[in-house]
């Protein structure tokens, strides 16, 4: 039995020939965290998971679990267990045979195996399903069997490769809640790969946004959403208005940024903002409003090009005189008509500075 343990990646990279799948990935995960690797397909998130699981040898860097270097350790010996994307359940074994597999290969006796498999099935809500064949199960049930099979060997870290990808939307939201509950109940770290940002926000203690093999941002979902570190993180974790500009200079705690839509003064981190550097000012759509509140700054004056009713709010697309595309979510009763001229305001603290040139 292994105890919950921490996970650390130090400069992990993987090249396939000339192609770089993962570059310089570093990450610290305390024991018992729910980590979500989020990114589009081809972002390297699955390769990174496979490296943590020991299926893919990294070209460089080290992987530490509980402080011990496991970089050269084969999957069979690692304190990790993987729930595969297609579940990889053994079709020639029953549900109990699948769940008990990891115990059987460790030489656990049949009676104990039976008990522990039954307990694991109970944990995932499939008590009494032991004698069924895999082919007789629904997608959601297979998912649970795969979970039970991995949990029964009591891994320090459970790896999940797009575990909800094959389920329909309704089932996915339900399983999402169960996964979170399971992680809390077992106290182990889960590392979960997905391209669904809603799933990521709902589950993660730490969300790791990946793009083109690089970690763009990592942190609690609320922080990553509110203050994304990169342009990509801002765009992938929901929508943002991006106003391009350059740093004019530093003014104490604040940074002055010149844009085509006027000058903005933003709170600056210590490391961003040499004068002349290209940056963008990002604002989440629900942070833009049509009527100013005390202390608000004016973002831009714009002409509404499109409005879409989306139930609780109306999504407004507008273009400023300088040509910037603005996105706002406003209450239906305040929604302007297409063609109307509007002025958009936001709290100064909701303007986020993002470094770097437009991609």
């Amino acid at each position: 039995m292994t105890l919950p343990q921490s996970l650390a990646l130090h400069g992990v990279g993987k090249r396939f020939g000339a192609a770089t799948a993962v570059a310089d990935a570093s990450l610290e995960v305390p024991a018992g965290s729910y980590v979500v690797l989020l990114g589009p397909s081809g972002s390297g998130k699955t390769t990174l998971l496979s490296i943590i699981g020991g299926f893919t040898a990294p070209s460089e860097g080290r992987i530490l679990i509980g402080g011990a270097d496991v970089t050269a350790m084969p999957p069979a010996q690692r304190p990790t267990a993987t729930v595969f994307q297609d579940y990889a359940l053994f079709p020639h074994l029953s549900v109990a045979g699948n769940v008990g597999f990891g115990l059987a290969v460790r030489g656990v006796r049949k009676a104990e195996r039976r008990l522990r498999a039954e307990a694991a099935l109970d944990l995932v809500g499939l008590a009494g399903f032991g004698d069924r064949m895999i082919a007789a199960l629904s997608g959601g049930q297979r998912q649970r069997v795969a979970l039970a099979r991995s949990l029964v060997v009591e891994p320090a870290i459970l790896l999940l490769d797009e575990p909800l990808g094959a389920l329909d939307l309704h089932l996915r939201r339900q399983m999402q809640d169960e996964l979170k509950a399971l992680q809390l109940a077992t106290g182990r770290s889960f590392v979960h790969v997905t391209h669904d940002q809603e799933e990521a926000m709902a589950l993660a203690d730490i969300v790791v946004v990946m793009n083109r093999g690089r970690i763009e941002d990592a942190g609690p979902p609320a922080r990553v959403y509110a203050r994304p570190a990169t342009r990509f993180a801002a765009g992938f974790m929901g929508e943002s208005t991006l106003i391009e500009g350059t740093v004019r200079g530093r003014d104490g705690e604040r940074l002055a940024v010149t844009t085509a839509d006027g000058e903005f003064r933003l709170a600056a981190d210590a490391h961003t903002g040499a004068a002349g550097a290209a940056v963008a000012v990002a604002i989440r759509p629900e942070r833009l409003r049509l009527a100013p509140r005390p202390g608000d700054v004016t973002v831009a004056t714009a002409t509404v090009s499109e409005t879409v009713f989306q139930g609780g709010f109306v999504r407004v697309k507008a273009r400023s005189e300088a040509g910037t595309l603005l996105l706002a979510k406003v209450p239906p009763e305040e929604a302007p008509a297409a063609g109307a001229r509007i002025t958009l305001f936001a709290a100064a603290g909701d303007l986020v500075l993002i470094p770097g040139d437009p991609a």
């Binding site: 040898a57 990294p58 070209s59 460089e60 970089t71 050269a72 084969p74």
Partner: protein, 289 residues
């Protein structure tokens, strides 16, 4: 940081260990015998035994002796004829099975088509002899219908060989082409009809081109298996126009000339190899996937 390299080396050793027994069997009982035969083909038989000086005399004799060259051409002619006739017979059958038999009867129809071939190969050739013999079913029927005066000579001719081969290979072609036809997306055929193509035009422009890979595969199999076979020509063709495998066994059995038989075997292998290369080229020009 050599873990990857070391892992891949142990991985290679493991894989090689699993494959080793099969590779050893193939090397010892297939490749080695071919090499031994190649060596023997360069020796010559003498009155007392074997002269072990290396010479191409056997090959020279093969291509110089008209009876032996004739055997080569008989083989080529028979195999080519069998291939064409089997395609002509088998393709319409496959087409009828795939498109004109209700889907739920198709499996049964296929099983019924294969059923007779569970007789032993030797017995099957013998059975054709029963049918084609001067006093056999065919001749007695023809005479009974008054179509001929006396029995037609079919048994112990190349016609009988071709017929006996066609029996098996038409079935093989039908099966292969049927599988190919069933892989064609039926919507393609509907689309062609929808765009105004008639039945014949749809067949010529869509169905036939899409079944070319199956045709090529079955033609290749037919040619290669027919040209290397000894049983059917020996039982049905008799000794009138020998094919290469008959001539090879004649060298061994009657004349005890192992070097010559080896040389002729290599010629037979070379012919099959050429057929393989032709087939490979033909399938390579197919659009990929």
């Amino acid at each position: 940081m050599d873990t990857g390299e070391r892992a891949s080396r142990t991985d290679a050793v493991r894989g090689a260990a699993w494959a080793a027994p099969a590779v050893l069997v193939t090397a010892a009982f297939f490749l080695l015998p071919l090499a031994v035969m190649a060596l023997w083909s360069l020796w010559t038989r003498t009155a007392g035994g074997v002269d072990r000086t290396l010479t191409l005399a056997n090959y020279a004799r093969f291509f110089g002796e008209s009876a032996l060259v004739a055997a080569l051409f008989n083989s080529l002619e028979t195999a080519a004829l069998v291939t064409v006739v089997s395609l002509v017979v088998g393709y319409p059958v496959a087409y009828a099975l795939a498109f004109h038999v209700p889907a739920r009867w198709q499996r049964l129809a296929l099983v019924l088509a294969i059923l007779p071939f569970w007789t032993s190969y030797v017995v099957r050739s013998y059975a054709w002899l029963l049918v084609l013999a001067p006093n056999g079913v065919v001749n007695q029927t023809l005479i009974g219908l008054g179509l001929t005066e006396g029995p037609v000579r079919i048994a112990y001719t190349m016609t009988a060989t071709v017929l006996g081969f066609t029996h098996f290979f038409a079935m093989l072609v039908a099966l292969t082409v049927y599988a190919g036809l069933k892989r064609i997306n039926p919507r393609l055929l509907l689309a062609a009809r929808d765009l105004g193509a008639g039945a014949v035009s749809t067949f010529l422009r869509v169905t036939l081109p899409l079944s070319v890979p199956a045709i090529a595969t079955s033609a290749f199999l037919t040619f290669v298996l027919a040209i290397g076979d000894y049983i059917t020509p020996q039982i049905l063709g008799g000794n009138t126009s020998l094919v290469l495998p008959q001539a090879i066994l004649f060298q061994i059995g009657r004349r005890g000339d192992v070097p010559m038989a080896s040389a002729m075997s290599l010629v037979l292998m070379a012919v099959i190899l050429v057929a393989c290369l032709v087939a490979l080229r033909a399938t390579r020009t197919e659009p990929a996937r």
